[in-house]
Symmetry: C2
Subunit: 172 residues, 2 copies
DNA sequence: ATCCAACGTTTGCGCCAGCAACTATAGCTA
DNA sequence: TAGCTATAGTTGCTGGCGCAAACGTTGGAT
């Protein structure tokens, strides 16, 4: 085993990405926990809250998160028990059901988001001057586009899966 | 709920980091699986292989990975069963034991590393021209140094799994 | 020498997630 | 209409992991 392999700049690069991600994720999780949310639950809340009618079908929710459909079933179970969202039958397709954020869920999100944004700024975006941040984000975007097929979409936000015009009623 | 919140550039930035990381991780996992390794096992192998004597104490291994000590116990159990490493009593401290990579473990690593490096180059470092890559890595390093608990020692009280006052990370 | 607090590791338990099997519905084809 | 296949969601099972308790060990204090 050649020791120098581990000094390969490619290994170093991956290490930086992984550690930056892990460090940020840990900070997020710590703040979310103060509000009684897991990272997954937070992601579910945001995905729903930004969707038309504050709702998504279970399958679409699974596609927008890193969860399988069975994982979504169980997260939604827990969050429904905690009154953060509720299931609603789909009128057109009796196989489907929507997960809909409740008022309590939206309020929880309102509680969490300011601190969440503050953390991003404190530990991530605020760590670099604007040109350096822009360069970082350009690089990340290029890697993301390469590695995440289907993530193209508008240059807008997280959900690459907006390219999933699954159902109708475009509210916003 | 204000819809514009989700278009906040800070949210976008985090989304890019998370998706780039998730995409790369998925590629890594796919290749590792071809060689019968999980990501955690690969990390354990690399951490041990680059340590003096190809060995680390369980606690130190836990500090260098994202695992708790109990997690390390179990991953070492599995890898010992698969003959990728073995435990060895610490002569100076009978509480401690070393995890030592076996020849088979080193060979497995040799099998995996070329493809691993190829994947990094194909989907990450090779996606950008050298100056852009340097800028990306500089940015990541700055964020890493900020969020990395070891680098910000003494400033905050962190959850136990974040508090890693050790020399954990010879990677970068 | 004894005590005791801290340490290293393992183990019991519970949570969470994925896979695959299952049920129910939808939609096409003839 | 009947039949076949694809789809949406849930559930049984399993494995991985963290927390906290347990156990042995260490090293310092008295």
């Amino acid at each position: 085993m050649n020791q120098n392999v581990f000094d390969d700049p490619r290994i170093t690069a991956v290490g930086l990405l992984v550690e930056a991600h892990a460090g940020l994720s840990a900070r997020f999780a710590a703040q979310l926990e103060e509000h009684g949310l897991s990272s997954v639950e937070f992601e579910v809340l945001t995905r729903l809250a930004r969707s038309p009618g504050n709702q998504l079908r279970m399958t679409d929710l699974a596609a927008q998160t890193s969860l399988s459909t069975s994982g979504v079933t169980r997260v939604v179970d827990r969050m429904e028990r905690d009154a953060l969202l509720c299931r609603r039958a789909c009128p057109n397709d009796r196989r489907s059901s929507y997960a809909v954020v409740t008022q309590a869920g939206l309020e929880r999100l309102d509680d969490v988001l300011p601190g969440h944004l503050r953390i991003i700024e404190q530990w991530f975006t605020g760590q670099l001057d604007p040109p350096a941040l822009a360069a970082l984000l350009d690089g990340l975007r290029q890697v993301r586009d390469a590695v995440h097929p289907g993530a193209t979409a508008g240059s807008t936000d997280l959900p690459p899966h907006l390219a999933r015009p699954r159902d109708e009623d475009p509210v916003t």
